[in-house]
């Protein structure tokens, strides 16, 4: 019995290790994957080190990084000379081939490290400078002029605005330069101002503080916010007279807001907020009860700009244009997705979600080919290059992991359902993609939200099928509301029924006394990492390999 188990276990581990070796060989052949992955990992390690190591303070960040770059460059040069001498002696690489490979790897690491230092040095130095000056900036009250940079974030008792300074602030001889920090304003929830509106603000700057087990200081620092201001005095200029920010972005946000106002004038809560979230990716505040219910049901992502509503959109386009060839449908999906991004005001989180979804569509377009394996790490690299703290952004991690789920878990589930002879379109279109996204995002949600819910898959599978037409009829309803109000009411009534169904399912699940588990701080880390490990191992074991090129790597390993 134990012997049999041992042999079975041995077979499994052999298969997994063979595939892992194959993956390494595969990555080894594609420099772009190597480069992207190494940059992402290196970036995380180096910025963590640069931001947190205190002894750098004494010699100065610029100086220490300069010394490091000098030392690293010297190592390369020295190795290069040594290798050249050896080549002259031996007359070629020959038996030195292995050492040569290590040298190439070492050289790549050093060049990457230098690149990462160069990319990050200036913003980390600026962050350090601001952090050092915090005590002098937060002593007394101050006044400054700035404009509202992003859309306000709603809270239950207030709203939060991110302010971009229009000029440097000087307090007690110290200067806070206008580009070194945004200011987070906490203002009463009923204030009504627009993105780009210029305001004169006065009050006391305060440093943010961590609460409970949430590192709020780092969370804000990743968004370049080092100061908050509670209930400041604000006097804003009219947007018709003066407005800052990007014209097209302001225009799109205004357009979106005017359309959302129309929804608010027809639908009640939570239906209006749900529809605004589904059609425009607008993050709205729900009542505490409904918010809790969406979390338990695992459907919070539907209304946040996580890429889920973009998935619904692509499903919708696919269904409307069923008569067209598959390739055309997928191209139309990409066009629809970017139209959605524009309508949503091109906010960073929506653009990210749309980019991720476009990638998964490209993956579907090209089937199981190499392109997705290259495109995914390369896109992640571009994100990290543009925003070095992207890996700390939950939205980025969720979007990325759900795409990974569609690329690497969905084929496994599809194959299993074929083996089990399950030939239902409903299962294929809704259950399996939902299940793969849920599984792939599970480690992230366990790690970040410290909760595990078993309801995510059934609730999503029940809701997703109706959301396609909710999106369609909701959009039609908004478009014709001013011209044909009665017809729009017909569309809205359908949307209202569907969203009542959404609300009903979510509230029903909330009443079930089991299925949702809260984890402690350390438990969530252990469970999150264990889940990630097991999922990766399962993918290695079960991923269906039909591509001949993959078999080549397996046989070579």
């Amino acid at each position: 019995m134990y012997l049999k188990l041992f042999h079975a276990w041995k077979k499994v581990t052999q298969k997994i290790s063979k595939r892992i070796k194959g993956v390494f060989l595969y990555i080894g052949d594609y420099k772009i994957i190597q480069f992207s992955l190494m940059y992402i990992l290196g970036n995380q390690v180096i910025i963590t080190w640069m931001r947190n190591v205190p002894y750098l303070k004494n010699i100065g960040l610029y100086l220490s990084v300069f010394i490091l770059i000098f030392v690293l460059s010297f190592v390369i040069w020295w190795n290069f000379l040594k290798r050249k001498n050896r080549e002259v002696r031996v007359g070629g690489l020959g038996e030195e081939n292995k050492k040569g490979k290590i040298f190439v790897l070492l050289r790549s690491i050093i060049i990457l490290t230098i690149l990462i230092f160069v990319r990050n040095i200036s913003w980390i130095a600026s962050e350090r400078e601001v952090l050092q000056k915090i005590p002098s900036f937060t002593e007394g009250s101050t006044a400054f002029e700035g404009y509202i940079r992003y859309e306000p974030e709603e809270k239950h008792t207030r709203q939060e605005w991110t302010i971009q300074l229009l000029g440097d602030i000087s307090i007690g001889g110290e200067i806070l330069s206008k580009n070194s920090s945004y200011i987070l304003l906490r203002v009463p929830f009923f204030y009504d101002f627009r993105v780009g509106q210029v305001c004169k603000i006065s009050g006391q700057l305060l440093p943010p503080e961590n609460f409970e087990d949430f590192d709020y200081i780092h969370y804000l620092a990743n968004q370049k916010i080092f100061f908050i201001m509670e209930d400041p005095t604000i006097v804003c200029e009219s947007i018709t007279e003066k407005r800052e920010g990007i014209f097209i972005s302001n225009f799109l946000i205004d357009l979106k807001d005017s359309l959302i106002e129309k929804i608010d004038l027809v639908l009640n809560e939570p239906q209006s907020s749900l529809l605004a979230g589904i059609i425009f990716g607008q993050k709205r505040l729900f009542s505490k009860e409904f918010d809790e219910a969406t979390r338990i049901g695992g459907v919070s992502h539907i209304v946040a700009a996580s890429g889920y509503n973009v998935t619904i959109l692509s499903l919708l386009v696919n269904n409307i244009f069923k008569f067209l060839p598959r390739k055309f449908r997928l191209i139309l999906s990409i066009i629809a997705i970017w139209a959605f991004a524009i309508l949503s005001g091109l906010s960073p989180s929506i653009v990210r979600a749309c980019l991720m979804s476009s990638i998964s569509i490209v993956a579907l377009l090209f089937g199981r080919s190499n392109s997705i394996n290259i495109l995914l790490p390369f896109t992640a690299f571009i994100f990290v290059l543009l925003s070095p703290t992207a890996l700390s952004n939950v939205g980025f991690l969720l979007s990325m992991s759900s795409v990974l789920g569609l690329v690497y878990i969905l084929p496994i589930l599809m194959q299993k359902s074929e083996e089990l002879n399950i030939r239902s379109k409903f299962v294929e279109n809704y259950i399996l993609p939902t299940l793969s996204c849920t599984l792939s995002t599970l480690p992230v949600s366990v790690f970040v939200f410290k909760t595990v819910t078993i309801w995510s898959v059934p609730v999503n599978a029940l809701i997703l099928p109706v959301l396609e037409s909710t999106m369609l009829f909701g959009f039609l309803g908004v478009l014709i509301q001013s011209i044909l109000p009665n017809l729009s009411l017909l569309f809205y009534s359908m949307v209202n029924t569907q969203l009542k169904y959404f609300e009903g399912i979510v509230l029903l699940i909330q009443k079930v006394p089991f299925g949702q588990y809260l984890l402690g701080n350390s438990t969530s880390k252990i469970v999150g990492f264990s889940l990630l490990f097991f999922e990766v191992m399962l993918i290695f074991y079960f991923f269906p390999i039909k591509n001949e090129q993959y078999n080549y790597y397996l046989n070579s390993s």
Binding site: H156, T157, P188, F189, F190, Y191, D192, D231, D264, L265, V266, L267, N268, E269, P270, Q271, S272, L285, S287, E289, F290, K425, F426, P465, V466, E468, S469, L489, L490, Y492, S493, M494, N496, T497, Q498, Y501
Partner: protein, 280 residues
């Protein structure tokens, strides 16, 4: 024959693929054709559970009067349970006094509903929300005093406090509350806002009060409201306490509930009962 089978197969496939959408479409049609005709024909009053704050909805047909908006966005969710979904207009909003637990939700409503008129008592009170309301909604604000009244079908609405001469003499803002007296289909309802015993005494002294059926108890059933003389004079059948679960003030106070028991008044507390609804 073959083509018939193909058509049937395709039809079956379309039906099965879109079963949920088809069902919701049918429901929606029913909704539009039948249920949209649903208006609240007989008048009703709902004491809304909005946490620690006040919100009372009175409606008939598609005509709504809302007294106070509660402390936060709960009002948006509670109203949605009673108002027809396509009706986003509130004919009259009443702000009894500008404390946050009466005002905040009302400010949110102004963004999400069309409001015809806001009835309030013009008092001086340093509150950002109140200042915002007075500055930005001047056009629809109407300052009301005792004697103001109107009738809509079966609903008679009147303001019985504050008296004009008493304006802004009170140090306690609760005692500046707009007190309303309603008669709905013959049932008498007294809504006290946050008015305390001093106001009750004045109302008794001026002989304005009479026996009533329902009392919205003043100041969330705090001990500072509902004197014995007030209760024995008005003799309500039912008293309603609008309080939030686990509120820091300890409302409803034990002493007030004891008075109800002594006077044989049946009482409902929204933190325990949820929304309390009466149809007439």
């Amino acid at each position: 024959m073959n083509s018939t089978i193909t058509i049937l197969t395709v039809a079956k496939k379309i039906l099965l693929d879109n079963i949920l959408n088809i069902l919701s479409f049918i429901f929606s049609l029913v909704f539009v054709v039948v249920l949209s005709k649903r208006t609240v024909n007989s008048p009703e009053i709902v004491f809304l559970d909005v946490g620690q704050g006040d919100a009372v909805l009175i409606q008939q047909d598609n005509y709504q009067i809302l007294i106070d908006g509660g402390p936060d966005d709960s009002i948006l969710y509670e109203l949605a349970k009673y108002m027809p979904w396509f009706d986003k207009r509130i004919e009259k909003l009443v702000l009894t006094h500008p404390h946050d637990d009466h005002l905040n939700g009302l400010l949110l409503l102004l963004k999400k509903y069309e409001i015809n008129e806001i009835l309030y008592s013009n008092v001086e009170y340093p509150n950002l929300g109140y200042e915002y309301l007075v500055k930005n909604y001047k056009g629809i604000l109407q300052d009301v005093k005792a004697g103001y009244s109107f009738t809509y079908r079966d609903i008679f609405f009147s303001v019985i406090y504050p008296f004009d001469e008493e304006r802004s003499q009170e140090e306690n803002l609760n005692n500046e509350s707009v007190v309303t007296f309603l008669v709905i289909n013959g049932y008498k309802i007294l809504l006290m806002g946050d008015a305390e015993v001093e106001v009750e005494k004045k109302l008794l002294d001026y002989e304005i009060l009479e026996s009533i059926d329902i009392l919205k108890v003043g100041h969330h059933c705090s001990r500072s409201s509902t004197s014995e003389s007030f209760l024995s004079f008005t003799q309500p059948e039912i008293a309603i306490c609008l309080c939030g679960k686990g509120n820091s003030f300890g409302h409803p106070h034990y002493e007030t509930l004891e008075k109800f028991k002594n006077e044989n008044v049946q009482y409902f507390i929204t933190s325990e009962e949820g929304n309390v609804e009466f149809s007439f």
